[in-house]
Amino acid sequence: MSEPRPFQLRLAKLEIGYGTHRIAGPLDRTLDSGAVHVLTGPNGSGKSTLLRTILGILPPLRGAVGGLDGRTASYVPQLATLDTGFPVTVEEVVGTGLRRRGPRRAARERIRAALAEVGMAQAQRRPFSRLSGGQAQRVLLARALCADAELVALDEPTAGLDDAAAASVWDLLSNLAARGRMVLVVTHDLQRCHAERHPVLVLDGGTLLERAG
């Protein structure tokens, strides 16, 4: 995994929402790479929408997201949004993270390494539909690792995980940030964030505030 050059993500007067329905904004914020940025807030405040807008999956209503030109990004969605009945193996799910698949052997090696990093190497050929919620979440994390992205965005990655599994996910995210990646996490698990001293942003009432530890 190569170390990327430091970069900044800039939200400039960003307004987010669907169609003409504005959920939050205007938001102004600059985030640095090499850190885990935690985004929290009440249900329906627009956390997932903000994440998806930053990644370019949703268009902004107004304003802009800057600093990501030419940078690679990966996304770990909430598990409920994926079709778990899809006839697909763990290896195939992780492989979707590769932008260009390239030579088969090299791709396999990357997939294997990513799965080993999240402790799922033995499940490589298992059907994705047969995994527990926690295992599936780790596989999606492996997909993000496999993409070797500079920005990794995760939507409630520890939801439904037991304490030990959640701790290993947070360790993995801290490790990614230490390797120069920018990690954006939507979560309600604030106890762990404070313990790890990650900066916390609160999206509430349409505005983005920094929360003191």
Partner: protein
């Protein structure tokens, strides 16, 4: 029994080779494309699109009789180009109506089911109201595999070759956009464009092959193998090849059964049953490997 089988194979080689080759080509391509519809949870589109092509073809017959004076007792069929035009127009109208209706994507399947019924009803009425009712009503119901001629065979083979090449080149983009549209966008794949691409491939298959072999043949091969095998297949890599194997085995069995002297079954209904049987057998084998 062996003697009868050899006799059927001889009959196929000597008289029905064009129909057999056409069926085999469709048996390779249709299940492969059907997999994409099943992955998107839209299997009923596999019913609606071929039936719309059949309805368009019936409209071409109806219009031909209406615009040109034909002998009512022995009506001359419209040319292949007109039939293809009718079938392609039928597909376009059907897909256009589905997309125009819009609404909740979860109900697209139900809308496709309604479209199938409408197209089937319209097709029957168009034949009933034209001088071709006796000559073509039967064929439209049961497929016309045994009457395929060399130009029709060439059309089917060329269409299937183009579609297979396109599906092979784009298969990764097609399935990623079906499985996880957000990840697809991050990979630079536009999910809507690839959904439209999927519909285009299936529309081409139906518009160009249904006039030659009939709607029932195409819709059986599009729908049955992938739908039956979805729950049994261990991986995506195995899904399409397994569906193709089931389609080919079922097609060969249908043709041979249809050509045996004692059975002499019509090809359409025989194909439905034999493709279903072959899909169930392939599914059982896949389950066996999956549980090991």
């Amino acid at each position: 029994m062996m003697q009868e089988l050899l006799e059927a194979l001889r009959l196929i080689r000597d008289h029905f080779a064009d129909g057999f080759a056409s069926l085999l080509a469709i048996a390779v391509v249709a299940p492969w494309l059907g997999v994409l519809l099943v992955l998107r949870r839209l299997p009923l589109l596999a019913l609606a699109v071929p039936q719309m092509a059949g309805c368009g073809q019936a409209a071409a017959f109806f219009a031909f009789a209406l615009l040109w004076t034909v002998d009512q007792a022995q009506p001359e069929a419209p040319g292949r180009a007109l039939q293809m035009l009718g079938a392609s127009a039928g597909v376009l109208v059907g897909l256009g109506a589905l997309l125009w209706a819009g609404g909740d994507r979860r109900y697209l399947g139900a809308q496709a089911g309604i479209l199938y019924l409408v197209a089937r009803g319209a097709q029957q009425l168009l034949y009933l109201e034209s001088p071709y009712r006796h000559a073509f009503e039967h064929a439209a119901e049961q497929g016309h595999l045994l009457t395929v001629l060399a130009p029709g065979r060439n059309q089917v083979l060329a269409t299937c070759a183009v579609l297979a090449a396109a599906a092979w080149a784009a298969h990764r983009r097609l399935w990623i956009s079906a499985f996880d549209p957000d990840q697809a966008r991050l990979n630079g794949i536009a999910p809507r464009r690839w959904f439209a691409g999927t519909l285009l491939l299936i529309g081409m298959l139906c518009g160009l092959c249904v006039p030659v072999v009939g709607a029932e043949v195409v819709l059986t091969l599009l729908l049955v193998p992938p739908t039956v095998l979805r729950a049994c297949t261990p991986s995506l890599r195995a899904f399409a090849p397994l569906s193709v194997v089931a389609g080919v085995l079922g097609s060969v069995a249908a043709f041979v059964l249809g050509c045996t002297r004692t059975l002499d079954w019509p090809p359409g209904p025989t194909l439905v049953l034999s493709v279903l049987a072959a899909s169930l057998c392939c599914g059982a084998v896949a389950r066996l490997f999956r549980t090991r």
